[in-house]
Structure formats: C-alpha cells, structure tokens
C-alpha cells in the first residue's frame, strides 16, 4: 500500500448527495488495485475535525488515476464533498483484500453481483475492471437495489455494459425503478434459476445478513464485502473487527479485522 498526498483531477456530481472523485495516483498504486479494495481518504492534516481518514472503495482506476464514489452521510464525507478539482487529498491504499477475481472454477457458473445502496461502489469496481479488461460478462447478473430511483447511480454506465453481456436488474423500496422490494428477493429468484452461482454482495449490514440467509438456504457459496467503522484501515486499531466462525474450532468464535483480512469475506464465515 502507498501513502501520498495527491490531487483531485475530476469531480462529478452523481446525485444530490453522491459524487465521484478522480484522484491522481502513481502507476504502482494502480498496479496493485483490485476490485473490492479500498483507500483511506483525508483532506487536511492540519485541522483535526474530522480527525480520522475515511474508507472508500476504489471503484475504477486507469494507469495514473483512480476513482471513488462517495455518499455524503456525515462530516467526513461532507468535508470531502467540498474539495474541488485541483484540491489536494491524502490517500492511503490500496488496502484490504478484494473480491476473488479468478474465474469461477466451472466456466458455466454464473456470477451474481448483489448491490444495496452505496454497495454499488464496491460491486461496480468488479464490473469496471471487467469492462476495462474487455472481459465479457456473459452469465453475470447485477442485482441492484436502492431506496428509490434517484438513489440508483451509475445506471447509464452499467447499461452500456449490456454489450458485454451483463444482465442488470434493479429493485427499489418504493418501486420507482424496477420491481418494488428488496434486492434479496431478486437474489432468491436468480439462485433458483442458477443454483451453481458464485455471489458477491455489498451493501448495508441488514442486507448482507439477509443475503447470507438466502445463500445458506440455497446452499450456495458467496462473498460479502463488509463496511465496518474503521479508525486506521491497516490492522492496528482493532476497531473494525467482525466475529467470524472459527474454522479450526467450531465451538468457538474468532474475530477478523475487516480492514486487512477483508473487507471481502466468504459469506458462510461471517457472524452478524
């Protein structure tokens, strides 16, 4: 991982409270980025409010830049939202372990990507990486749920991807786009059609919990990307730990650091 002060080379408003930053990065950074990894971003080291850097998924990257998509939810994100093109930003990353990107063992297996709300930023990193490698996405489903139409971001960019074979389904809490309901309903349905699927999911904890249940019910493997609160992002504060099943000793529980051992974990290991 790298530690550097960098520059915002582009800023784009996606919705009222979601924006995308493109940040300059050296080659080495981009070479070790993989889908699902994240960065810790900070804005000004000389002021202490906000104090800690904040974790955001690396959503896409090129030879000398990477992008993050940020939703304004509190003081850290809102302070980042004030940075304009040309402003400097402190970067630490790429951090963590992303999605397994080796091809599914069985070529015929489908891959189901499940995104809830801002979980799309993490899930999209998988898709953008595929686009950028010109990897076909035949047999890949994107099930994307959000509160309402206006919270569904990146739709255009992901629809372009139809050409690559991606099958996109949206669902909203209020039915303003796609079906009305929860994204896990889509997942249940797809898993019935494609019982041998690989599943990657990212979203709020209640959603991941219910994804885990659906996977269990369908006896299906999958990976969940967690977004626990983080102070350090590199394994030293022990703030982000998640209870995990102890494979060595099934009678006991262990903890895993989401920042260094995750954020992506095999779904069956996570104890919510």
């Amino acid at each position: 991982m790298y530690l550097f002060n960098s520059e915002i080379v582009n800023k784009e408003k996606l919705t009222q409270n979601i924006f995308r930053l493109r940040i300059k990065a050296a080659n080495d950074f981009c070479r070790v980025a993989t889908p699902g990894k994240f960065v810790m971003l900070g804005s000004d080291d000389s002021l202490f409010d906000p104090l800690l850097r904040r974790p955001f998924g690396i959503c896409r990257w090129g030879t000398d830049w990477f992008e993050v998509i940020i939703k304004i939810v509190g003081k850290g994100s809102s302070q980042l939202s004030k940075l304009e093109k040309g402003a400097s930003v402190a970067v630490h990353g790429p951090l963590g372990n992303g999605y397994p990107i080796n091809k599914p063992e069985n070529e015929q297996n489908t891959l189901i990507l499940v995104a809830g709300g801002m979980g799309i930023a993490s899930i999209a990193s998988y898709l953008f990486a595929a686009f950028d490698r010109k990897q076909p996405l035949i047999g890949t489903f994107l099930l994307y749920g959000a509160a309402n139409y206006s919270e569904l971001i990146l739709l255009n960019e992901l629809t372009d991807a139809d050409a690559f074979g991606l099958q996109l389904q949206t669902i909203t809490d209020d039915g303003s786009c796609g079906r009305q309901g929860l994204v896990t309903q889509l997942l249940s349905h797809e898993l019935q059609n494609n019982p041998q699927s690989q599943v990657f999911a990212c979203g709020p904890e209640p959603m991941l919990k219910s994804v885990q249940k659906v996977l269990q019910k369908n006896e299906c493997d999958g990976f969940l990307s967690l977004e626990n609160r983080m102070a350090c992002g590199f394994g030293v504060c022990l703030g982000c730990v998640q209870s995990m099943i102890n494979e060595d000793d099934e009678t006991s529980v262990k903890t895993a650091k989401v920042c260094t051992q995750g954020p992506v974990f095999p779904a069956q290991q996570v104890i919510f």
């Binding site: 202490f48 409010d49 102070a231 350090c232 030293v236 504060c237 022990l238 703030g239 982000c240």
Partner: protein, 305 residues
C-alpha cells in the same frame, strides 16, 4: 546535528524521545511497510495479558470532536504468542521494544513481569494500570494511590527490567498517584491513558459503543495531558513520558518543554502511519534550527512568565 538520546530509566537510553503508544501500533511489524521502525526511540506493543483476549463486541470505535472513543476491550494475542510469534520479528527488525501489560489482579501483573524478565529483545516493561474499557483492566489500581503503589512494588520484585507505570487521567489528583508509584519503585511514569467518555446515537437512541463508554484519545485531550505532565514533572524526580493527542513535532516539543523526557504517539498513528517517524525528524529539525546540541537541554525548559 542535535543529540536526541534520552534516558528514560536508569541505563535505558533511547536513540530519540519518540515512542508509539500501546494499542495504536499493533505489535509493531504492521508499520514496517511504512518506515524503518528501528528508527523510533521505542515501540510499545498492544497491551498483553496472560491469556489471549477477544475484546469487546459491538461497535468499538467512534469519532468525536477532534478525538475518538475506543472500547476495544484490550483484545490481544496473549503473552505466549507474543513471545513466540511477534517478538522474534521485532528483534529481526532491530526495533527497541517496550512491552505493555495489564491484568485483572496483582498476581496477573506479577506473573507477566516474571515471565518477561530477562527475555532478550525487551527493553522495558510498561504496566497499564489505567485501562477504562474492561472491568478488570487495572483501572482500580489507577485511581487509588495505595493500590497503585502495592501493585508497582509487587511487579518491581519480579522484574529487573526498567519499569514504566502508565497512569490514568481519570483521577482527582494525578500527583498523588505519580508520587505513590515513584515511591514504590517505578523507574518512569507514562501519562496519560484515555479519558472516559461516551457517545450516543440519536437516531437509534442508544450508546454508539457496544461497551457504552470508551476511552477518549486524540488532539481533544492534549490540554489535559499537557497539564498532567507538567504537574507531575513538578512533583516527581523520575523521568516522565508524555502521551495524549500528539500529532506532530510541535505537539511533541510542547510535552518535552512541560517536563516529559520522552513522548508516545497514539491516535495520530491511525491517521498517518508515518506520523511517529515524521515527529522524530521534526524534533531534530526544530532543535537543530534553534541551535540545541542535545535534546536534554530542551526538556523541562518551560519558563513561567
């Protein structure tokens, strides 16, 4: 070039006055990708107990104004695994290692001290008598001068290592505690540990931390830490290590002025993993520019108006 060496206990000379605070530097090697950790005065490990501890459940950290609350609950791998898995790595890296320990009772502390005594690669022992996050994390020793003294004396008997006692700021009179542990044989005093605080989630109408309360650290507490270091420096004659909200070289220099012989960097390590080494460089540059030949001339040189 200014001489940065400081002696924090009889015979224990550090190459510079900058250490890393327990619980904010992992077991040390996590920082190796960011800089050569042997360049620090010392690294202080995450607090160790006799047995591994899994720590608290629920939310463990939350940010507050210019600070953070943590309720990790002293999660650690236990002294055995530290000695077998971590210490050898640190030795290979040539790091100066101070081991932080805590226990539920005097026996635990004495036992840990005995176990670590004479182990190669350990420069000193820091006993935490002040962790607010577990019922039996030593806090009872940290607020009662008699109990503190008894504990220090018991540990003192079991170890020939330089002994640092880490004090809690959650007390009416820090000076009384400091004197008690000095009297009882501590070679050095480090302060402060975290203040006890709480944060509330208004939406969910519940405490944010799983443990309800947690330890407040970061720049917010610096004024309290600086005051306590200053007060204790007037009252004891053993060296003091200043801790609390140190984020840059200027902060560190202020603690040295107030009477600290060395300092520990805590929360700031989370924000920028290179903070501690940048502080070493910053102190050096500052003192060089000011024409000091050794840092010890600067320490405790605060003047009252």
């Amino acid at each position: 070039m200014v001489d940065l060496k400081v002696e924090i206990a009889p015979g224990l000379v550090l190459k510079n006055p900058v250490m890393t605070a327990s619980g904010t530097f992992g077991y040390g090697r996590e920082y190796a990708p960011y800089f050569d950790i042997s360049r620090l005065g010392a690294i202080i490990t995450k607090g160790l107990s006799r047995q591994p501890k899994i720590g608290n459940s629920g939310v463990r950290i939350t940010e507050t104004a210019c600070g953070m609350l943590n309720a990790i609950g002293l999660e650690n791998i236990g002294v055995e695994r530290f000695l077998s898995d971590e210490l050898p790595i640190l030795q290979k890296m040539n790091a100066t290692v101070i081991v932080n320990v805590f226990g539920n009772n005097q026996d635990d502390y004495a036992n840990l001290a005995a176990k670590l005594d004479g182990v190669a690669g350990i420069a000193a022992l820091e006993i935490n008598i002040s962790c607010p996050n577990v019922k039996a994390g030593g806090i009872q020793f940290g607020i009662d001068p008699q109990a503190a003294a008894k504990l220090v004396a018991a540990v003192r008997k079991k170890t020939s290592l330089p002994l640092i006692t880490k004090l809690s700021p959650n007390v009416s009179d820090i000076v009384v505690i400091a004197k008690a542990v000095e009297e009882a044989g501590s070679d050095c005093i480090s302060l402060i540990n975290t203040l006890i605080g709480m944060a509330i989630d208004l939406e969910r109408k519940c405490p944010i931390l799983g443990n309800v309360t947690g330890g407040l650290s970061g720049p917010a507490i610096k004024p309290v830490a600086l005051r306590m270091v200053y007060q204790v420096a007037q009252a004891v004659s053993i060296p003091i290590i200043g801790i609390g909200g140190i984020a840059n070289a200027r902060d560190a220099l202020e603690f040295l002025l107030a009477g600290a012989t060395a300092i520990e960097v805590g929360t700031a390590n989370f924000i920028n993993p290179q903070t501690s080494i940048e502080i070493v460089e910053g102190i050096e540059q500052y003192l060089d520019a000011q024409g000091y030949s050794k840092v010890t001339d600067f320490i405790a040189s605060l003047e009252l108006n």
